[in-house]
């Protein structure tokens, strides 16, 4: 049996110096930023804020300088990320591009696409969305039907993507498309393409979520022409490329911190003499402290060049349980008694509606547990 162990990772002193800088920056930049916006956590997007972060050198911190990066450590990047999320900073505009898209471009198109695009990601100016899900393709990613056909002029793409978060503000999509047949191997025939969202034939339509917000979209491709050099990596290798990307998508601190604002509101409303409050909030405190160490441990694995795919699935599963329990605990402690119109009442209502997505986005709970079970030696 393969045990799924995550070893904690100790942050070097330089990280704590950086942490102080980040806290000062947040205190200054987000003074007066309302709780009603902080509650959106990393779904909140503000291009102006992203550009300020870019100017501070806090986007693409680990990337090579030739791509506009700052060649700092993964652990320093971790500190910036966790501080932003804990404060509910509006990091949503650049989040996906920074977390995974730029990495993919630097790894698989280091001479052509990365030098052209990655520096503007590091400046906080260029945003990405991920084109994976389709109307008939959810967890079963290998069933993707959006097709790209190789022509002399370029790749001609037809099909439809859904649940595409941030497509309406993204400059580019990295789309998983079918370029060959599935055949014997279910995962064969898939490729990744870089698509400029302004290309003729590409249409973005909003899909309003149950929060009443415009976050995800339907994106249709009607003979969209994509230049040959926008093929990322190797034709037909899309599946393994995506799998590598998912480890980054699943491993970060955003996978347990999304409900933080509600927790903070609860702490301010709670009473130290009320045992129901102290026990429930103490349990969350223990979970937060533990998940932080697990998440940091995964970053440590990445820093050491280990494959964290299994550990990342496990941390995301554990993290979603805690994020999702938050509104239920808040309901238990404050449901019906939080003053109407209070920040607590708003955070409770908002978070209750937001959390069902947390065990869907980035891999459903069931898919993640399937990955973990396989890692344990089952099936």
């Amino acid at each position: 049996m393969q045990t799924v162990t995550i070893d904690p990772c100790t942050l070097p002193p330089a990280c704590e110096v950086l942490r102080t800088e980040v806290r000062t920056f947040i205190a200054e930049t987000l003074a007066g930023y309302p709780a009603a916006k902080r509650v959106r956590n990393w779904s909140g997007a503000d291009p102006a804020f992203s550009k300020r972060l870019g100017a501070r050198g806090w986007i693409g911190m680990t990337w090579p300088k030739r791509y506009g990066g700052h060649e700092r450590s993964l652990l320093e990047r971790y500190v910036v990320m966790e501080e932003m999320l804990a404060a509910g900073a509006p990091v949503g505009a650049h989040w996906v591009a920074e977390r995974q898209s730029a990495l993919l471009l630097m790894r698989l198109s280091p001479e052509v696409l990365a030098p052209r695009i990655v520096p503007s990601i590091a400046r906080g100016e260029t945003y990405f969305c991920i084109g994976m899900s389709e109307p008939d393709t959810g967890s079963d990613l290998a069933s993707v039907r959006t097709r790209a056909v190789h022509t002399e002029a370029g790749w001609v793409v037809n099909g439809r993507k859904v649940w595409t978060s941030g497509a309406h503000r993204a400059h580019y999509m990295i789309a998983l498309v079918r370029t060959g047949t599935q055949g014997e191997l279910r995962h064969a025939g898939l490729s990744q393409l870089l698509v400029d969202m302004k290309t003729p034939g590409l249409t973005v339509r909003p899909i309003i979520n149950q929060l009443g917000e415009h976050d995800f979209n339907e994106v249709t491709f009607d003979d969209v022409l994509v230049p040959h050099e926008h093929l990322i990596g190797v034709e037909g290798d899309g599946w393994s490329q995506v799998s590598g990307e998912l480890a980054f998508e699943r491993s970060g601190p955003e996978r347990y911190l999304s409900s933080s604002q509600l927790l903070l509101e609860m702490l301010d409303a709670a009473d130290t003499k009320e045992t129901r409050h102290t026990v429930a909030l103490g349990r969350i405190t223990a979970s937060y402290a533990t998940l932080r160490q697990m998440s940091l441990g995964v970053s440590g694995m990445l820093a050491r060049g280990e494959n964290p795919a299994l550990a990342a699935a496990l941390v995301k599963d554990q993290g979603a349980l805690v994020e999702q329990a938050m509104p239920d605990i808040a309901h238990d402690l404050f449901g019906g008694v939080a003053p109407p119109g209070s920040a607590l009442a708003h955070a409770l209502s908002y978070t209750a509606r937001a959390v069902p997505s947390f065990s869907l986005r980035g891999g459903t709970r069931e898919i993640l547990r399937g990955i973990i079970a396989k890692g344990l030696g089952l099936r």
Binding site: R19, D271, L281, A286, A289, R292, Q318, G375
Partner: protein
């Protein structure tokens, strides 16, 4: 080094026969002696006290091993007592030592050059098997007491859920062999706090064994013509169990790293990390034991099957040195006092800035 010697010792000497004899009331003298001979009892004590001077991180495999192999020994208690005694510059007596975090009703009164104790403590681990007890007093002192003092020390024997002999201890002017100020003045309730870390490590070991057994059983047991582990329902349960075990393990390893070693004696994050570890391990123990039993079906409910030796230990140890709810209450009080402004800094620094409390 410590890891290999503990693993070899427990793997070679703890078996079903030993556990059955133990539950029938036989003290595992040979196993204890081997542990003492290898220095495990004094692992945390300084070298000048005859110990190894190991850090808690280095000693973690011993504690984890107690759970993984279900070794029935008061080793955690003895290790903690030996560390505190040696830090205080007191002699460490031979043989098993148990520990008590005394409540306010336990009073120490000066008697000549010594101290006499009056008060009581319930569910003292291994009270019936130990000659000595190290008592941490609310007045900031620690005291070593001989439990064999007819007339002044009374022990009501108990057996805990794991079948381990505990006892309710009553002191009626019991003489102390030695006493000293708490050698870790920055650490509140040193016995309870270090005991919580040890119990967490023991639970992690027991859970790791349970997870291995459960995966093995799911792969071996055939129903409907295939291993039950092929069913998604079973896979999902075991995956959740793996997450719980991994969480408990991380929290506990951090708590060990944050526990004071004999050299530096840094206690800044000890209380916080011990609380986190005990809450998270206790919660995980509850869930892991439940899943392991469900996967094993009826055979796992028999005394004959070894599953119960681990699950009963989890149900006993989740209560030891403060149950998860007790520690959660302490953490919650500190978190609420810290409020929205102080919460996150406490998570990253692993201590609540509450003027020395909690």
């Amino acid at each position: 080094m410590i890891e290999q010697s503990a693993a070899r010792l427990f793997a070679q000497n703890v078996d079903r026969a030993l556990l059955e004899q133990f539950e029938a009331g036989t003290w595992p003298q040979k196993l204890w002696q081997l542990s003492a001979d290898q220095g495990l009892t004094l692992a945390l004590a300084s070298e000048s006290s005859g110990g190894i001077g190991a850090s808690w991180s280095e000693a973690y495999p011993i504690l984890r091993g107690l759970g993984y192999w279900q070794a029935p020994l008061p080793l955690a208690e003895t290790m903690i007592a030996a560390q505190l005694l040696s830090l205080a510059g007191l002699d460490v007596p031979e043989g098993p030592i148990t520990i008590i975090e005394a409540g306010r009703d336990t009073i120490a009164a000066a008697a000549g050059t010594g101290l006499r104790l009056t008060g009581s403590s319930v569910r003292v681990a291994w009270a019936g098997s130990c000659r000595w007890v190290l008592v941490s007093l609310t007045d900031g002192r620690i005291a070593l007491v001989d439990l064999h003092q007819p007339g002044t020390v009374h022990i009501t024997p108990r057996v805990n859920t794991a079948g381990e002999p505990s006892g309710d201890v009553r002191f009626e002017g019991a003489a102390c062999l030695a006493h000293a100020p708490n050698p870790l003045p920055a650490l509140q309730e040193p016995v309870r706090t270090l005991g919580a870390i040890a119990a967490s490590a023991m639970m992690v070991g027991a859970m790791e064994w349970l997870l291995e057994q459960s995966v093995q059983y799911a792969n071996d047991r055939v129903q409907f013509g295939r291993p039950i582990g092929k069913n998604q329902a079973i896979q999902q349960s075991l995956a959740l169990m793996a997450g719980e075990v991994a969480a408990a393990r991380v929290a506990t390893i951090v708590a060990c790293a944050d526990a004071p070693d004999t050299a530096t004696q840094d206690c800044t994050a000890t209380r916080f990390s011990a609380a986190v570890a005990k809450v998270r391990s206790g919660e995980a123990a509850t869930r892991a034991a439940s899943i392991a039993h469900q996967v094993h079906g009826a055979i796992g409910f028999t005394y004959e099957h070894s599953l119960n030796f681990a699950t009963r230990r989890l149900w006993a140890w989740r209560e030891a040195y403060g149950a998860d709810a007790w520690w959660a209450q302490r953490l919650g009080e500190a978190a609420i006092a810290a409020g929205s402004g102080g919460f996150w800094p406490a998570i990253t620094s692993r201590h609540f800035d509450t003027g020395g409390r909690s």
